[in-house]
Assembly symmetry: C2
Homo-oligomer: 381 residues x 2
Amino acid sequence: MQPWTDPGPASARWAPSTPLSEVPAACQEVLQAYLEQCREEFGGIDPLLETTLDALADFILGGGKRVRPTLAWAGVRAAWEGGGGHPHDGDNEGGVPPQAYLAAVSSLELIQACALIHDDIIDASDLRRGRPTVHRVFEKQHRDHSWHGSPEHYGISQALLAGDLVFAWADDMLTDSGVPTRHQVRARPAWRAMRTEVIVGQQLDIAVEARGSEDVADSLKVVKYKTASYTATRPLHLGASLGGADERTVDLLCQVGQQIGTAFQLRDDQLGVFGDPAVTGKPSGDDLRTGKRTALINSALARGTAAQRTELHEALGSISSDADVERMRKVIIATGAQDHIEDTIHGLTDSANTALHNSWLHSSIIDELVGFASRLTNRRF
Amino acid sequence: MQPWTDPGPASARWAPSTPLSEVPAACQEVLQAYLEQCREEFGGIDPLLETTLDALADFILGGGKRVRPTLAWAGVRAAWEGGGGHPHDGDNEGGVPPQAYLAAVSSLELIQACALIHDDIIDASDLRRGRPTVHRVFEKQHRDHSWHGSPEHYGISQALLAGDLVFAWADDMLTDSGVPTRHQVRARPAWRAMRTEVIVGQQLDIAVEARGSEDVADSLKVVKYKTASYTATRPLHLGASLGGADERTVDLLCQVGQQIGTAFQLRDDQLGVFGDPAVTGKPSGDDLRTGKRTALINSALARGTAAQRTELHEALGSISSDADVERMRKVIIATGAQDHIEDTIHGLTDSANTALHNSWLHSSIIDELVGFASRLTNRRF
């Protein structure tokens, strides 16, 4: 059975020209069908695995903006709308259902699930999307049954393995998607680069944090690998390759993806300091409270006067009250860092838009991609 | 560049009929070349990654019996020696170098590296193959530089990610091996099953341990998934599929692999209680000291008298002196568990040998496989 076989109405309607806005609903159906298939295939091994399968299903189907599958689908459509590919190119069996490409791009959410489950272990987070993190779910099971050993360690061990499992399933979902092998082979470099870059970016993030680096170049390098490449560049690259895009289109989308992805993370940095908790769902000035050295905060430190630097250093990570947050916001604004990051965001999105509008792609996909990128980089949550 | 391009003398000699005994040396060369390739490709991202690349190279090239690549190569040769495949079957470019298959089977060592790195985190092990485990390497780096935060947590976080990285690279190494795509597609089910079974087997092991189960059936289920499938069944299955074996050969090798793999683990259980520390390199009665519930120990508990059970329960996990070990060995022997496990090992290997000798495969590969299996199941370390 293939992951897209009759999963639901949104994917049943799937066509080569389906708008980006329909990815999240269809992706949800396809992921649900794929996880049910895995349950049929492996659930029988032992009842103990139900916990893993339930935890993964709750986690994967419980939320997420589906940004990566949406951008990957944009890559597929770009290939088909002026990028040198065709919906039936590479198809030797007289008809590749568009659902095959939907399944292929949806597999990115399984890599994302592994990344988040492992990040939550690394950050010792209790909550994700308003629910207990996967390691806490296993920890609670251990505690509820008063099993032997440490509940905390049990939770971490099982969550680590659950992440490994879904990381392997991401590959399987792509391979079983039904996209012609010839195109899957062409898409391997993007897949290889994406997985290595996100892991290496996370390693870099932890190392830079441990060293207490305040170098803006370090924070931008983390942004590049951990977020920009993984969230935008490689998904666009992957989709374009799956769709059979020509080289110039792949190059264009990689360049544009790097700009959109960087702007996306810089917006995140702004929201981490200036975001409205009512909208972001996170505490106000979250990054100030945790003391995370983002590109925004490192530029504030770099641009500030000696007095401002001292004030920031004293406050970062030790902030508790909203009044403190307000005070630090004023300092960061005074250093000019907020404006600088805002200018950078606009500069990046402008050049991405210009590159797309001046390209050979059809206006249909250009407008949708520009619109989606603008939502990503101007979002308030 | 492909992983097998000019890696060294042993792989340069590689031929369709190269004996199983030559896999470890050639595998070492191919792995070293592949890791150097990864270093060229990703090492430039940041000097901080040197630690990861060095730790992975030391770990992967520092030891290991290469059991899985050897059995996978046995599968490839079985396909070519009576199993319905041919060295140049599926080759459209006029010559697949045998090194492509060597690279494909060597990729199993990268999955093994991830499994061991993550297991060492789960078991909080300090040493592996006489060297510090990967999480301890990162922990030491953190401590040596007196970086911010907990050295222990830093070590675990970086090792977790290093394991993820090499798990992704295993896929890449298989895909880039140069084995014709048509055969790679045929090999995916074995690859998919192997990765899921080893992870799920490990989850089961931890859960069974936490529940303190003494059910022999539970320990045998862990043996089946965590060891037998992963160590023997699926490597043989993978190799046979890569070599283009027919269905009856795949079925034969899967059945034989299950028997060899189970015997392999039961031998491990025997060595864990009765092994000679001078040969095993582990403390005498290691499993008695850790209190691990192996198939051997669970059968002793199941077969023992009430008095023997009590004695075992009191001793397990709290043993310190060699005298205690000696006493418990006597108890286990008295329950008949040692003989029972020994009989099981011989029964399994005998039926595997019979199945192979009565098969349609050429005596060349049958004899080598029987010989290798006998070394695995009669080993003293």
